[in-house]
């Protein structure tokens, strides 16, 4: 690379400065983003920005130090490397400390960048957001407010390199159109949020973002409080995605080694109903989070976590694998350059069943269709498995959707919920999340209301 400012040359210059007995790993990123927010036919804000930064890990004599800087300024980068080195002094010696060792698996060829996103004129992006607001308001008279209609996009590149010989570079993009809605009728007010997201500018559908935002608000109108009871719970794909993202995080080898998971000591055992089959597959480009390599630079590969209800694998990065005397499953994740790697899920796919959501609902005598969950972080304990969250949705009565419910929680434990899954829908939906979603039916859960 001749360009001195390229991420590759910045990373290489840090790596090449390694002293004897010193291992260094660098992750560097650069991105450009645009965000347009419109309100009542006017642009409320237009944000345009270029960000960059890097994170450096250093291992000296089994001691790890880390430092990060959200700038690619030369002097700040030099200071960052220096402080990562100094931080090794304070760490406890760890015999398992390691960076990824290159294995023989080649990076899959993946196209993750839409070359159009950087060149679409800003005016066109602004007009997409304005157009979205119009479409939303035209759909239903009961939608009285659109607090925010937005278009945002992002494109960026990142590089990971280490003194172990790791080198990976990838580029990716996404674009999203989204709207929040307020629907009113009589005394009732409900809100909705809808979006359409894609890697490709042309695949973002204003129409589907608008329908999503409108439907989710208006179908809750007329919601009533309901009596506490136990019943069948049907999770819509977005709600199921939230749940399975959380559950799969408990399959991280770090959570297991630290004994902070409901899956401790369950390897090889039935932990879920037979209809549950879960794979983490970052090579599947339908995921926004797809990537040719993991956060330590090992080639991405599918990992089968739960097969027909039986626990088959945990998610490993190099450190946790080293601790268990095995090799990494290439499941290191990190929150961008400013985080350190740890093992975790990135692209969770449930094996789809045969029936659509409509077909499933038609066979349920009494249940609740849940469109969204609230209080997920405070209401789910991934260690004990206690589960109690707020839910929005509609009652299912004699095979049809009936009135909406308000102020209810659904509760169980994660362990029981997994065993109580009776069906997975055929409607695999890719979302801006680490987990795709399907309609998921849980045989029995407690619903708390009046």
């Amino acid at each position: 690379m001749s360009n001195k400012n390229s991420l590759e040359s910045i990373a290489q210059s840090i790596i090449s400065s390694a002293k004897p007995k010193e291992s260094i790993e660098v992750m560097a990123s650069r991105s450009t983003s645009t965000q347009v927010v419109v309100y009542q036919g006017e642009v409320e804000s237009l944000t345009q920005a270029t960000d960059g930064g890097l994170g450096v890990r250093v291992i000296i004599d089994g001691k790890v130090g880390f430092s990060t800087v959200s700038s690619l300024d030369k002097s700040l980068v030099a200071r960052c490397l220096q402080s990562a080195r100094e931080n090794t002094v304070y760490s406890t010696y760890d015999p398992y400390a390691t960076f990824a060792e290159p294995d023989a698996i080649a990076y899959p060829a993946m196209v993750l960048l839409d070359p159009k996103i950087p060149v679409v004129p800003t005016e066109l992006k602004v007009s997409r957001a304005l157009e979205l607001e119009k479409i939303v308001l035209a759909k239903d008279r009961r939608v009285t407010e659109v607090p925010q209609a937005q278009y945002s996009d992002y494109y960026g590149e990142s590089v990971i390199a280490s003194t172990n010989g790791i080198f990976g570079r990838s580029e990716n993009s996404y674009a999203i159109a989204s709207a929040t809605t307020v629907a009113r009728e009589g005394e009732q007010t409900h809100t909705g949020y809808g979006y359409s997201v894609s890697r490709y500018f042309d695949e973002v559908s204003l129409e589907s973002a608008a329908s999503d935002a409108v439907t989710r608000a208006i179908r809750l109108l007329g919601a009533k409080k309901t009596k506490s009871r136990s019943l069948t719970v049907v999770l819509e794909p977005r709600a199921a995605s939230t749940l399975f993202a959380l559950i799969s995080a408990s399959l991280s080898a770090e959570a297991i080694q630290r004994k902070r998971s409901i899956f401790v000591g369950r390897m090889g055992e039935p932990v879920a109903s037979e209809v549950i089959d879960i794979v983490d597959d970052p090579t599947d480009v339908r995921f926004q989070s797809a990537s040719p390599f993991d956060a330590e630079g090992l080639a991405s590969r599918p990992v089968h976590l739960i097969e027909d209800g039986t626990l088959k694998n945990f998610l490993y990065d190099s450190y946790t694998a080293n601790k268990d005397g095995i090799t990494s499953t290439a499941n290191a994740i990190r929150g961008g350059f400013s985080g350190t790697p740890s093992p975790g899920p990135k692209s969770i796919l449930l094996k789809p069943g045969r029936r659509s959501q409509d077909e499933i609902i038609a066979t349920i005598e009494e249940g609740v269709l849940v469109q969204s969950l609230s209080g997920v972080h405070s209401g789910i304990n991934p260690v004990s498995g206690d589960f109690s969250v707020g839910a929005e949705g509609l009652i299912i009565r004699d095979g049809s959707l009936a009135e909406a419910v308000r102020e209810v929680t659904i509760s169980s434990t994660l362990q029981k919920m997994l065993l109580d899954v009776v069906e997975v829908g055929n409607d695999t939906t890719f979302l801006p999340s680490i987990a795709a979603g399907n309609t998921v039916v849980i045989g029995k859960m407690n619903l708390s209301g009046e």
Partner: protein
Amino acid sequence: MLNKETANKVLTHALSAGANFAEIFVEDSFSSSIGLEDQRVEGVSDYASMGAGIRVVYGETTGFAHTTDLSEKGLIDAASTARSVAKVSPRSQTRIVCTEDSHTPLKSEFVDLGYFKLRAKEELMLMDDVARTVDRSIVQVSSSMSISGRRFILANSNGRFVDQSISRSRVAIKSVARGDTGLQTGYEPVAYTMGFEEFLDMMDFEELAKTASKRAAVKLSAIPAPSGTLPVVIKKGSGGVLFHEACGHGLEADHIKKNTSVYTGQLGQVVASPLVTLVDDGTVSKQWGSYAFDDEGAEGRYNVLIRDGVLEDYMWDANSAKSYHKETSGNGRRQSYRHLPMVRMTNTYLLPGESDPDDIVAHTEQGVYIARLTGGQVNTATGDFVFGTQEAYLIENGEITSPLRDTQLIGNGPEVLANIDMVGSDFHMIPGSCGKNGQSVPVGTGQPTLRISGITLGGTADV
């Protein structure tokens, strides 16, 4: 970081396409943290960030750009990007001179990161020892300590020039207990807006470790929480999150402006029990959500939101205040130079009442006593909220009895505020982190022990 001469040049450039307002926000921040996991020091890390955000406003439209290039050219380029949102017809020229000067009264201390890491390591190891000896059921302990500093210089076209430095210190510990019923966790964070030395002086680290371990251990014998609507007594401190969620967010003026709050049009009306006086107070000394100046350069203030149950005012940033011809209430905040400011809470708390806290429990025949709430979430347009419990007990015949497994409370803001029927004379505040539109800022919440006559619990006890 930014001198007045450069500021004036950049602001003049930003305004030159006819903008009504322009602002430069230059920020230099750092944080340093150290963690103890499984009795090993790990996660020793430093974070640094330096950059500038430039905001240009034309009527109701804001253009925003940010950059890490703090040279005059870098700032001018960012200003050009920000002002590119300009409407076709330029408006009248605004003249600007940065004259008004404000410097932070908060002490900006020199931070020796090496000293921090050494001392933090000692204290974390002490906490780890204590946490493990509290109860034989404790099998895992993790803890972390961090300090951060943030200096910003703000210059705007109204002539405001503010230079503020803030230091923050935080410690948190999590204990995991194992028993026949599985694993249970106890978590306790403490955080203040103060330098590390002062933090060391005032902290009782051993006590913190004991609190977390006891909380985990006691839950091993917890029974499933009841489900349905019950009277709930919330111990002083963590219940402040109730007010943060149940009405705080709904009193942020951006929600009022867009008619997405149940409190729109309710000024001067009864919105809560007469026992409720709620304030948002950016001036509380050293609390997690405190500051001398907000991120738009306005002074932090003590604002009464609800007085004796009557809605007195909303919280305002410059943008929302302008629409109502009001003044900002010092609630304009942003996560960093990369973010646009918006209306945010500071330290939100309920003022103490007159009941003896013990009497509140004694006067409750059957119900639930919540010693520690965790975070929550609210829909401001409907007022519906949820929040989780982390330490709760049954109340039977006016006495606190069995511990309960973690559960969720769900309610509607205005309804719950009306149902507060006893307020204690005690008071405590805790730190938290508040997320809104993808931005996270430190906040404080607080409250005296109080009782809600009925709220829905989402327990798993058989119904």
